[in-house]
Symmetry: D2
Amino acid sequence: MLPDHLARFADKIPVLDKGFVRLVDVMGDDGAIIEAARVSTGKGRTAHDYAGGTMGLVCKACGMPKPMRAIADREDPPESPCIEGDRRFIDYMLREGHHSPFEMAEIKLHVRMPIFVARQWIRHRTANVNEYSGRYSKMIDEVFALAPDEWRGQDIVNKQGSTGVVTEWPKGYRLDRNLGGVDVDIPGGRGFHVSNGSTDEITPGTYLSKRQEALQAEAREVYEERLAFGVSRELARVDMPVGNYTEWYWKIDLRNLLHFLGLRMDQHAQPEIRAYANAIARIVAAWCPLTWRAFEKHRLNATTLSADAAAFVRDWMQMRDMPMNATGTERLRFDRLDKADRAVVLELLGAEALR
Amino acid sequence: MLPDHLARFADKIPVLDKGFVRLVDVMGDDGAIIEAARVSTGKGRTAHDYAGGTMGLVCKACGMPKPMRAIADREDPPESPCIEGDRRFIDYMLREGHHSPFEMAEIKLHVRMPIFVARQWIRHRTANVNEYSGRYSKMIDEVFALAPDEWRGQDIVNKQGSTGVVTEWPKGYRLDRNLGGVDVDIPGGRGFHVSNGSTDEITPGTYLSKRQEALQAEAREVYEERLAFGVSRELARVDMPVGNYTEWYWKIDLRNLLHFLGLRMDQHAQPEIRAYANAIARIVAAWCPLTWRAFEKHRLNATTLSADAAAFVRDWMQMRDMPMNATGTERLRFDRLDKADRAVVLELLGAEALR
Amino acid sequence: MLPDHLARFADKIPVLDKGFVRLVDVMGDDGAIIEAARVSTGKGRTAHDYAGGTMGLVCKACGMPKPMRAIADREDPPESPCIEGDRRFIDYMLREGHHSPFEMAEIKLHVRMPIFVARQWIRHRTANVNEYSGRYSKMIDEVFALAPDEWRGQDIVNKQGSTGVVTEWPKGYRLDRNLGGVDVDIPGGRGFHVSNGSTDEITPGTYLSKRQEALQAEAREVYEERLAFGVSRELARVDMPVGNYTEWYWKIDLRNLLHFLGLRMDQHAQPEIRAYANAIARIVAAWCPLTWRAFEKHRLNATTLSADAAAFVRDWMQMRDMPMNATGTERLRFDRLDKADRAVVLELLGAEALR
Amino acid sequence: MLPDHLARFADKIPVLDKGFVRLVDVMGDDGAIIEAARVSTGKGRTAHDYAGGTMGLVCKACGMPKPMRAIADREDPPESPCIEGDRRFIDYMLREGHHSPFEMAEIKLHVRMPIFVARQWIRHRTANVNEYSGRYSKMIDEVFALAPDEWRGQDIVNKQGSTGVVTEWPKGYRLDRNLGGVDVDIPGGRGFHVSNGSTDEITPGTYLSKRQEALQAEAREVYEERLAFGVSRELARVDMPVGNYTEWYWKIDLRNLLHFLGLRMDQHAQPEIRAYANAIARIVAAWCPLTWRAFEKHRLNATTLSADAAAFVRDWMQMRDMPMNATGTERLRFDRLDKADRAVVLELLGAEALR
């Protein structure tokens, strides 16, 4: 059912420690987007556009010369589609915000991800979803677990983000506790494993992973115990962690998928959902390469200047031989910009230009 | 791209005088609905369900016996899917309102229809649309026209409906007018064509069609004239009739398509849009036959009793050997039902039962 | 901002052990639905309908006589709105599936609920949501906990439901374990608390609640510990239970809210989300009483007969003096109905009628 | 029901020749957006943020000093909300694409517009609509008509746009025709009215408006005639022009309204729908002034540089003392940019900078 060049995505693309993305089906592609868009103009799918040339007609989009009658030797030579014409058309539509043709391509994915990722994902409402049901079936026996070097620290500037990795013990932290059959001793400033009479020093990351493992095992044990008591599945699960894996079929049109990717590939998205977005991006790049290129150019890697930032750049460029010094009017005006505007201007024009 | 058994719908199905419906693409089918629904249960696509049988296992759904090892002669005989199991599963989901699996099948149609039909159609918001643009291209040169015997009369009871066909001249109606090069003379109570010296009597329907033809020709002429003046297409079109044909690509999932069909195949829908709904229904019946059967059973041909109507039927059946006569308590109670409830009860139990 | 008669709902309505629903704002009401619907007809809000009466005019809807000029003593007496006319109009629209006017009333709620409830809730896509963020803020320190007599058992027939309450120990269950500082000893068939030298016998429900309490305390402790280590909030939370409470603002139009209530007040919905739906229903009944009545009549308490069930009832009623006995044709036909159809027919006509 | 400062919008704002926009109701405002967003952080509505100051505390956002206890003279002085804090918060959310809080404000409008405008409008699917029904009621007796100086010409570059006004007769255009009781004579190159024996020269615009008037009168006459014949309203209307006025109630949340305004206030939108968008913009600016400011800054008047355009600007600024001349490498690189990118770069940096 999948076209050959996408067949490889029918195998699971691994994401995170136990998750995956798998391509189930597609409807349409770059060509279908163009076909639907052409209904506006009464034309069919793109072909070479020889109109307007003079002697020796040449396609206006790709520059390929029109085959001469003598060569083609027939009334109405079939024209191969013009890739460059297609590229421009798709680039134009995406750039100008003609979104509806991109809704004409549809994709269906099978995904396994932690519940906390699913909760961010489901906020994208314009999609179809069938999720694994913890009421109907036993919870999937997989939990998202972090390796010792994966405990990211809290970002102070971006209050909802993370940065770096935890490597220090909290000041004066003390603990002496059995975790999964191993004694952990943290007398303050250092941590140790005590097992079978030997003592190994451990890092904070190792300790956090050990404790996670013990907690997850306990939560699963309680879950299984409840089922053994005959507790209904819909209640037995209420203490399962939000890191437990779930699965769903997810179907969405390309326009809304691009919106999803724009938000979830962004550096402000939680890295766990970004991992899924990046996996999906690989599929989209293979499925609709022209759209993907336009998306990278006009969304993912574009720079937006607010009205204030744009006005500053425009005005300042008029007198560009006068470098902006620390005391001038321009400097004052720059300082009065919102912080976010200053950052964009600096990133674009360079601190040097604004020295 | 279309599966073989749907390939015939790639040709235009004619609708109304100049419209059509054409199947462009599908994603999924009955099987895909089941596949997605099964993600809830961790099972794959349906197969025979031999569980629970005793000696000589028999599929619980379809009754087919399990092939014996001696016959099958291999470790793990591939099981043909169980149609009866699939039918029950889809029937169950549609009956119980488990709608989301039906969103996993998607269809794309190419449609040509009058603008006034498109305006009713577009109210169904959960769909993707690319429409022919009268700003970008010249208006399609086709208008919805009625034959003399198609001028339906106004329904008095259903204020938004029509009934019967116009066959009478309005009382005392008088007109003497040139329509498209032919003189029409209505002296009151009868109508005549005067052409080339001869006089033919005409019916009201013929007159209405003639006058429609003349008005449509005039509107098109004005449109073309404006274009000749260099008036922009976006303005030139403003006096084109709402019966002018337009086209679009329309993509929708099966759940929302069924909702569309439920409303637009209904007897209260305008017959012009019903014609399109009926054409689409033929495609759906071929595309997802199990779903279509369930839809006919549980929606299209179902009967809904309001709480009041159901309570009346329940109570009345308890003493069914007492026919409800014109003076009894039951009669009073029946009369106190809302008009719509009385109609449903009568239709279901029969006037005889309630004599 | 809230109208007076709704002001009481600005206080939290308690739901479950620690959740609530709180009314933040409404736009429109029954009257606004009618007002918008009347745009179709060019009429304003409903008033008495005296049209069609003869001498001594009487409102066709409510029967109230028109005030005489002598009494009213002015040119154009203001008419009080006609409640009965409004009731009929709203009943008609809801019955006939004219849904769009019900989208003209909007409600905004503030809700606190367990994450597993939020996950079912969010599947209703046509709504606006702002949720508490566990990336931005510390997780709310409240978890859904069950009292000893609330551990519902698994329903065998309805695989996603629950029934009864757990009162038995699993056969041969053995455990000896410290839960939150108390020793629990289950030697098989009975359970005991050992604390401060004394031993109390406990029920399975008490044991399950104790163990839940201990697990939840452990999960919270791990969460707080991670924060103490400087782990980012977005990662620290991954082992918090799906029973942890979250909050959101939820805004939805009345049409879609009724759809939500129809599904979530249903007996197949998980009791935890039904508790929220029931709380919201109280608000809706006070906010839009005419709509609520129509909804109860035509949706909540309506009975739907499939085409097959309706055909059976119709045919059978034609020969109702012949009771359906165990061997007759009718009996065979009844038996051939789908199980769900048989249940509806029996519920409606009574086992007695079909004896 | 409307807050006082919006009460003036309850009166119709005239749009086009016979249309209007009228504010029916609002739910929420800038404050409600903030309130809902704060549910993410557990904080209430914004107030002065004195945190982090030293002696003589000063609000970090607006700079207002904290009132001293001696002055305030009470335990817990109520803080006026901090407008500057609110402004920054809303600016931040809109800039960073945190769209959901903007869905917490809702608006309901009553609009009268030509059908061809309604057809563009209805493409915005995330809204609630109740439209005047031509099946239920007689078509509104108003048609969109153009004055002689309003016949915009076809734009050649933007194939879906218009430019300038028609002032010339088509070459060799000839016509001699009675329009609404007046003879119009166009012998080629000029036009004349012949009425009551006198002859007035007329412009192409006057002619086009005259002919429009005659066609619209004819269409209305045919419509009324059909109704006189008893033709159903749903059929009688099929030749009414798409310029006929219709009405609807339209309800939408602020996020989606801003999306609508971003597209429909754009210079590529048809001027007729832009007129409505501009009227609505006035209401929004009064209703949610902080959001409106942010929208103007970050959407309406923002400049987006594609990845290519941004890369060019960045690289080129590194060697800004070298003006880009006609033969240099930079020139070549500039020429290789897509046309749309070149336009943005030129508009931003100035042709002078790139001389």
